[in-house]
C-alpha cells in the first residue's frame, strides 16, 4: 500500500512539486544565499584588494602583489598598534580568564542564593553599549588621575583594566557552558576513595575544565584584540590599539595597505576560532 493512498494531500508531491512550491523553494534558497553574500562580501573584498598592485583601489587590478603586506608592517602606526593590541589582549586574557573561571566554577557547582543574579551581573559588561561603557571609564580614569596623581588613561595598565571587562564575561559564558554538560560522578568517586578536596580539584576537576578554559582564553583574546568602541576614548598618542589605528586611517582613505592589515587580522581570527571549536563546540555557546 502506498503512502499516497493513505494521505491524499501527499499525492501532488509524488507527481513532482507544483510551480508555486518550486518558486517558494527558489525564493527561500535565494534568501539564504543573499544573507551569506552580505556577511562575506566585505570580508572577501578586503582579502582580494590586499593583493592589488595599484595604490588606489580600482577595478580591475593592473597586477597582483604581496608588497602591501611588507608595507603594512613598515607603517609604524599599524606595527605598533598590532603589538599594543597583542600585549593588551594577552594581559587582559591572563587576568580575566582565571577570575572568570573561578567565578563560573562556583556559580555552577555551589548552591549560592542569587546565582542567576550574579551570573547576569558578570555578563553585564557585554550588555552595556561599549561606547557608553568607554565614556564612563574615560571619565572614571580622569577622575582617578586627579585623586591618585598618576597617569591612567593611555597607559598599558589602564587599557588592560578596560579589556578585562571584555575577557571576564566571555570566560564566564564559555566556562559555564562547558561545565553544564559535565557530571559530578567522577569527582564524588575520587572523594569517596579518599582524595582530599585539593587533589580532587587538581586531578579531576581541572582536567575536565581544560577545554572550556582553552576556549575561553582564545575567545577572550580575540574579543579583546578586535574591540574598538571600549578602547576608543582610552587610547592616546603613542599608545593606540590596532582597530583604533585602522579606524583613523580609514577615515582618510582605503588602500591595499589597510586591506593587508585587515586580511592579516581575518586570518588570525579564523585560525583561532577553528582551534577554539576543537575544544568547545562553538555552536553550543553563542
Amino acid at each position: 500500500m502506498s503512502v499516497a493512498s493513505l494521505s491524499p494531500a501527499a499525492a501532488p508531491a509524488l507527481a513532482g512539486p507544483g510551480l508555486s512550491v518550486r518558486l517558494g523553494r527558489i525564493a527561500f534558497l535565494a534568501l539564504v544565499v543573499l544573507a551569506y553574500a552580505i556577511i562575506f562580501a566585505p570580508i572577501v573584498m578586503v582579502v582580494v584588494t590586499s593583493f592589488f598592485d595599484q595604490e588606489i583601489v580600482s577595478f580591475p587590478p593592473d597586477a597582483l602583489t604581496l608588497r602591501w603586506y611588507v608595507n603594512a608592517w613598515a607603517q609604524r602606526d599599524f606595527a605598533r598598534g598590532f603589538v599594543t593590541s597583542l600585549q593588551i589582549a594577552l594581559a587582559a586574557t591572563a587576568i580575566g580568564v582565571p577570575l572568570g573561571t573561578a567565578a563560573a566554577l562556583a556559580l555552577v557547582r555551589a548552591r549560592i542564593p542569587g546565582r542567576g543574579l550574579i551570573n547576569t551581573f558578570l555578563l553585564a559588561p557585554l550588555a552595556v553599549p561599549a561606547i557608553v561603557a568607554g565614556s564612563a571609564l574615560y571619565m572614571f580614569y580622569l577622575r582617578a588621575e586627579d585623586w591618585l596623581d598618576m597617569d591612567i588613561k593611555a597607559t598599558f595598565g589602564g587599557l588592560v583594566a578596560a579589556n578585562v571587562l571584555i575577557t571576564i564575561p566571555w570566560t564566564v559564558r564559555l566556562v559555564t557552558a562547558s561545565l553544564a554538560g559535565l557530571d559530578r560522578a567522577a569527582e564524588e568517586a575520587a572523594a569517596n576513595l579518599g582524595a582530599r578536596p585539593l587533589t580532587v580539584f587538581r586531578r579531576i576537576t581541572l582536567p575536565m575544565l581544560r577545554p572550556g578554559i582553552v576556549a575561553a582564553a582564545l575567545f577572550s583574546f580575540v574579543a579583546s584584540f578586535e574591540n574598538l568602541e571600549l578602547n576608543l576614548l582610552l587610547v592616546g598618542p603613542g599608545r593606540t590599539t590596532l582597530p583604533v589605528a585602522m579606524l583613523s586611517y580609514l577615515e582618510f582613505r582605503m588602500d591595499p595597505t589597510l586591506a593587508a592589515v585587515a586580511t592579516a587580522q581575518i586570518v588570525m581570527v579564523s585560525i583561532l576560532m577553528l582551534v577554539t571549536d576543537r575544544f568547545v563546540k562553538l555552536s553550543r555557546i553563542v
Binding site: I39, P129, L165, E229
Partner: protein, 275 residues
C-alpha cells in the same frame, strides 16, 4: 565559594558599575566653557538634548536605522538560520564557525570591505562602468543605505546563530506531521515553525536592535560627514566637544531609549506568544 566569585564581581563593580554611576552624576553637572564642568544637580543637559532639533534628528536617524536593520535582518536571517539548524552535523559545525568568524574580525575590517565595494572606484561602480551601464559613478558610499547594508552585515551572524539554536530545538517530526496532514510549506512555517521559534525570534531581534542602536564604526566610516547616529554623537562630545555633562546625558538617553524599547518589544511579542 564566595571567595571564588568575589574577585570577578569586584572587578566588574569597580570598572563598570562605579564608572557608570560617575557618568550618571556627571550628566547632572553644568558645562562651562572656561572650567569645563561645574558641580550641580540639574536636568538641563537632558532637557537640552531633547529640545535640540539636531539631536532629535540624530535620535530619529538612529531609531529608523535600528528598526529597519532589525526587520531586514530578521527577514534575511530566518531562512539562513532554518537551513543551518536543519543541516547534517558535519557541515553544521563548519558553517557555524564560518558564521561566527565575521563577528570577530571587527567592524572596522568589514567597513573597509564595504568601502572597496561601494566606493566611487569600487567593484560595483567599476563593473557598471565596464558594462557601459553608467558613465558617472553612482553615489553608493556615504549614504544612509551604505550604513544600513554595513550594519545588517554586522548583525546578521548574531541573528542567524540565535535563531538557529531555537529552530534546532523544534523537532522535525512536528513539521513532518503538519506536512503529512496536508499543510503546505508556507502553512507549516506560519502555523508551526514561526510560533515555536517566537521566543528565539524575540531574543534575536532584541540583541540585534541593541547592536544597531549602538552602531559606531559602520556609521562613522560608511555614513559620511552629514550622517550622524547616537553613538558617534556621544563620542564626539567627549573627544571633540569636551562638553562632558552633555555627552553623559546623551549616553544615558541612548541607553534608556534602547532599554525601554527592548523591554516594550519583549513584553508585546511575549504576550502574543502566551496567547
Amino acid at each position: 565559594m564566595f571567595a571564588l566569585i568575589l574577585p570577578a564581581v569586584l572587578v566588574v563593580a569597580a570598572l563598570l558599575v562605579g564608572p557608570m554611576v560617575l557618568l550618571a552624576r556627571i550628566s547632572l553637572n553644568q558645562y562651562s566653557a572656561t572650567q569645563l564642568m561645574i558641580e550641580a544637580t540639574t536636568a538641563q543637559n537632558y532637557l537640552n538634548a531633547v529640545a535640540d532639533p539636531y539631536y532629535r534628528g540624530v535620535m530619529a536617524t538612529t531609531l529608523v536605522m535600528a528598526f529597519t536593520c532589525t526587520a531586514v535582518t530578521l527577514a534575511l536571517g530566518f531562512p539562513a538560520a532554518y537551513r543551518l539548524a536543519r543541516m547534517e552535523s558535519r557541515w553544521k559545525s563548519l558553517v557555524t564557525v564560518l558564521t561566527l568568524i565575521p563577528l570577530l574580525v571587527g567592524n572596522v575590517v568589514r567597513a573597509a570591505g564595504w568601502l572597496g565595494l561601494l566606493g566611487n572606484d569600487g567593484l560595483i561602480n567599476a563593473t557598471l562602468r565596464g558594462l557601459r551601464i553608467t558613465s558617472e559613478p553612482l553615489q553608493l558610499i556615504y549614504t544612509p543605505g551604505a550604513v544600513a547594508v554595513g550594519t545588517i552585515a554586522v548583525v546578521l551572524p548574531y541573528m542567524i546563530l540565535t535563531l538557529s539554536s531555537v529552530i534546532e530545538s523544534i523537532p522535525r517530526a512536528v513539521e513532518e506531521a503538519a506536512a503529512n496532514l496536508g499543510a503546505s510549506a508556507l502553512t507549516v512555517f506560519r502555523r508551526v515553525v514561526w510560533p515555536l521559534a517566537l521566543p528565539g525570534t524575540v531574543a534575536g531581534c532584541v540583541l540585534v536592535f541593541i547592536l544597531c542602536m549602538n552602531t559606531y564604526a559602520t556609521a562613522v566610516l560608511l555614513g559620511g560627514s552629514q550622517f550622524k547616529m547616537m553613538a558617534p554623537a556621544v563620542y564626539d562630545q567627549f573627544s571633540k566637544g569636551m562638553n562632558w555633562p552633555f555627552g553623559a546625558a546623551l549616553a544615558f538617553i541612548l541607553l534608556a531609549a534602547t532599554l525601554v524599547l527592548t523591554v516594550l518589544g519583549t513584553a508585546l511579542l511575549g504576550r502574543r506568544y502566551a496567547r
